[in-house]
């Protein structure tokens, strides 16, 4: 077996080196966050900046956990993120199926109307939506943050609809001929073949809920129901700020999202057999 030519080795090495350098640049803010979480307060805003904490202050982490009820806020955030993700995936996939697979007269028109709602800035609808939830008596609860997830998100409906349209029609028609109802086709075939698209929806929805600040700020009125994003804000007091503890708490907050990404990353790169047809 002959070894690869030298230029191929050089090209591969050079390419990897470039990618590693670019990755480090993109990872810099996160690296800075983690290093700052281990610094004493006096070093965080030093100029010129110092990268290595001197000394390494591990106590920032237990102090951050004690400064605010981080565990409770994490539980609240997890409940919102899981409920919201569940509702989004369920509702968006159902709506997308109805628009992509079921043949009915106004499907395309309704799809375009739905798409126009993506162009409305959320700031425009904040107060009218708040008034609706106030009338329903939901302000001060988790409901304004969770229930809307069960009514589909236009962007994710669009994403899933486009993916569902790539599933071979023959496969779905064959299932219908065999006696499957629309729900069974959706549940047994379409969802199972749409794993990569669903993973994208799950990841983006979970991250959005995990990091959401404005929603919890506007609708939650009890300290005990606050989320992590509101909890981080409490490190910034009116007359002083606990930057080193804020960095530690931020690092803890960001870790679940990073772990989730690495767990779901496989689904992005795994190949699937779209057709499922033999012969």
């Amino acid at each position: 077996m002959t070894s690869p030519p030298a230029y191929k080795i050089l090209r591969s090495t050079g390419g990897h080196a470039l990618l590693v350098a670019l990755s480090l640049i993109f990872a810099l803010p996160f690296i800075w966050l983690v290093l700052s979480s281990l610094k004493p307060a006096s070093q965080i805003f030093e100029f010129p900046p110092s990268w290595i904490p001197r000394p390494i202050q591990w106590s920032n982490y237990p102090e951050a956990l004690a400064f605010i009820p981080l565990i409770r806020y994490t539980g609240n955030t997890l409940f919102l993120a899981l409920s919201g993700t569940f509702g989004t995936v369920l509702s968006c996939s159902l709506v997308a199926y109805g628009l992509a697979v079921v043949r009915w007269r106004w499907a395309n028109a309704l799809f375009f109307v739905m798409l126009t709602t993506v162009m409305i800035p959320p700031q425009v609808t904040t107060i009218p939506v708040f008034l609706i939830f106030k009338q329903l008596g939901w302000v001060g609860t988790f409901r304004p943050l969770v229930i809307p997830a069960f009514f589909a998100n236009a962007f994710f409906v669009f994403l899933l609809r486009q993916f569902f349209k790539t599933i071979p029609r023959d496969l779905l028609d064959a299932a219908r001929i065999d006696g499957c109802s629309h729900f069974e086709v959706y549940w047994r075939i379409v969802l199972r073949l749409s794993r990569p698209a669903l993973v994208v929806v799950i990841f983006f929805t979970f991250t959005a809920y995990w990091n959401d600040f404005m929603g919890p700020l506007i609708y939650l009125n009890e300290d005990s129901s606050y989320t992590l994003s509101l909890g981080l804000q409490q490190f910034l007091c009116q007359h002083n700020a606990k930057w080193e503890l804020l960095m530690a708490a931020s690092t803890l907050m960001i870790l679940p999202v990073i772990i989730l990404f690495f767990i779901l990353q496989r689904s992005f790169v795994e190949g699937i057999n779209l057709t499922g047809l033999k012969g």
Partner: protein
């Protein structure tokens, strides 16, 4: 159509899945409901504050005292942690707490003119509080039109502070800060250091970071607002003179070089604070800065203070008043109880004891409280003198004032960066903002210029 053999499991599986999904949705709906109130039969008063961390703990201590003293009431404190967007939406949606300490002096007129706040005149008339209990300028801060809408614990004043060690190093008398504008500019230049000693070189230390046109305009005598005619007073000789003075100084140092140097300043609430770390010899800020110095400065840090210098035709010993204030929203369900809480939280006892660090966070607004022993030291006596100054200025009482400050700052940037001339920038701000203020007054039915 009869069920075929072998089809039943599929139908059951679908039904089971559908039932589970419905159940999951129902569980989510149920568990996302309201948490039970913990008032234990007492009337619950919702109280929002902007403080967080240790500051919130201090406030909660006094709230707990109030709760113990009022067995029929329970005050539930919620911190909005300096995120005042929540207040704006709560007022807009008419879903406010019963009482809050989250309305700032520069927002008071906006809320009061729109009928979002409850006047406190009746409550004050039946209490032991009198206008004479307060500094006159502080009392004016609470008023919009002819009504009182707020009270507070401490009032922030703005003045100059200087680093005595730097004064001494540069051969200036550390006990003799500048008294006139010319002296101030001269000292600021002397205290500025450049790398290599070349004034065209890189900045190493600033005598003063020129900016903050709004506060300086107060010293220069800008009227800002005429409540009789409801006219903005910005396009005037005083503002032009102020902008030209600022520009002459920023041009001397080079505006771009100044901003580049300032961009490397450490955060104010950190040991790398530019004043504490010696990057700036003199600053213009609020009296609360003392708590930053106490928290982050070394024990041997020496500093002094003096009133904002003014031109001869300006306002001597001027200052700007600012504070978060206790108000009762118009939508409050328990106004009488809310007043009891405000009366307690703004009392001399609480005002004197609300401080987190080694020293008081601010001077109490009540004159009698300011006479307490802990406020007898020279710093607080100076702050008291500033509050008593005839040129202590509360925020002008016109709508959209918070945005006005932001537009004023933009006007300053235009002038200092040579985008617009002072006359042009001031005229444009006056013209544009007057239109907006007139529109707001028209929309809230206050075209009639007579005070309500």
């Amino acid at each position: 159509m009869p069920l075929k053999r072998g089809h039943l499991p599929m139908i059951s599986a679908s039904a089971a899945v559908a039932v589970m999904l419905v159940l999951a949705c129902a569980l989510v709906y149920t568990f996302s409901g309201a948490r039970p109130a913990t008032a234990g039969g007492r009337t619950q008063i919702t109280f929002w504050v902007g403080w967080a961390g240790k500051e919130l703990d201090v406030i909660q201590r006094f709230v707990d005292e109030f709760n113990r003293a009022h067995p029929n009431l329970y005050v539930k404190t919620t911190s909005i942690a300096n995120s005042y967007q929540k207040m704006k939406i709560a007022f807009a949606g008419n879903d406010t707490p019963d009482v809050c300490a989250t309305v700032w002096t520069h927002e008071l007129a906006d809320y009061a003119l729109r009928g979002a706040l409850t006047p406190l005149d009746e409550y004050i008339a039946h209490s032991t509080r009198r206008p004479s209990d307060y500094y006159p300028a502080v009392w004016e801060t609470y008023k919009v039109g002819n009504h009182i809408y707020a009270l507070n614990q401490t009032m922030i004043t703005f003045f100059m502070m200087y680093n005595k060690r730097i004064f001494r190093e540069e051969g200036l008398d550390p006990e003799r800060p500048p008294r006139t504008l010319e002296e101030f500019d001269d000292m600021a230049w002397r205290l500025t250091k450049f790398r290599g000693g070349d004034s065209k070189g890189e900045l190493k230390r600033l005598g003063f970071a020129y900016g903050n046109a709004f506060i300086w305009s107060i010293a220069f005598g800008t009227p800002f607002w005429n409540p009789e005619t409801r006219k903005i007073g910005v396009d005037c000789p005083q503002t032009i003179r102020c902008l030209k003075w600022l520009k002459s100084n920023t041009d001397r140092y080079n505006y771009q070089r100044l901003r580049a140097f300032q961009s490397a300043f450490g955060n104010a609430s950190s040991p790398n604070n530019p004043f504490i770390s010696g990057k700036v010899a003199m600053i213009l800020d609020g009296d609360w800065y003392r708590s930053i110095i106490d928290e982050y400065a070394p024990a041997d840090f020496e500093y002094g203070w003096f009133p904002i210098p003014a031109p001869p035709e300006g306002r001597t010993a001027s200052t700007y008043l600012m504070s978060s204030m206790f108000v009762i929203p118009a939508a409050s369900r328990h106004k009488d109880a809310a007043w009891l809480l405000i009366e307690w939280m703004t009392s001399a006892y609480v005002s004197c004891n609300v401080h987190v660090g080694k020293s008081p966070g601010g001077l109490p607004s009540l004159r009698a409280a300011a006479a307490e022993p802990e406020y007898r030291e020279p710093y607080w006596q100076f702050v008291s003198a500033m509050l008593s100054s005839p040129n202590a200025m509360p925020p002008p009482k016109f709508p959209l004032f918070e945005r006005f400050i932001s537009d004023y700052s933009r006007m300053e940037d235009y002038v200092l960066s040579n985008v617009k001339k002072p006359e042009e920038a001031a005229a444009e701000l006056q013209r544009n903002f007057q239109t907006e203020v007139d529109t707001v007054f028209a929309s809230i039915g206050l075209q009639d210029k007579r005070e309500k």
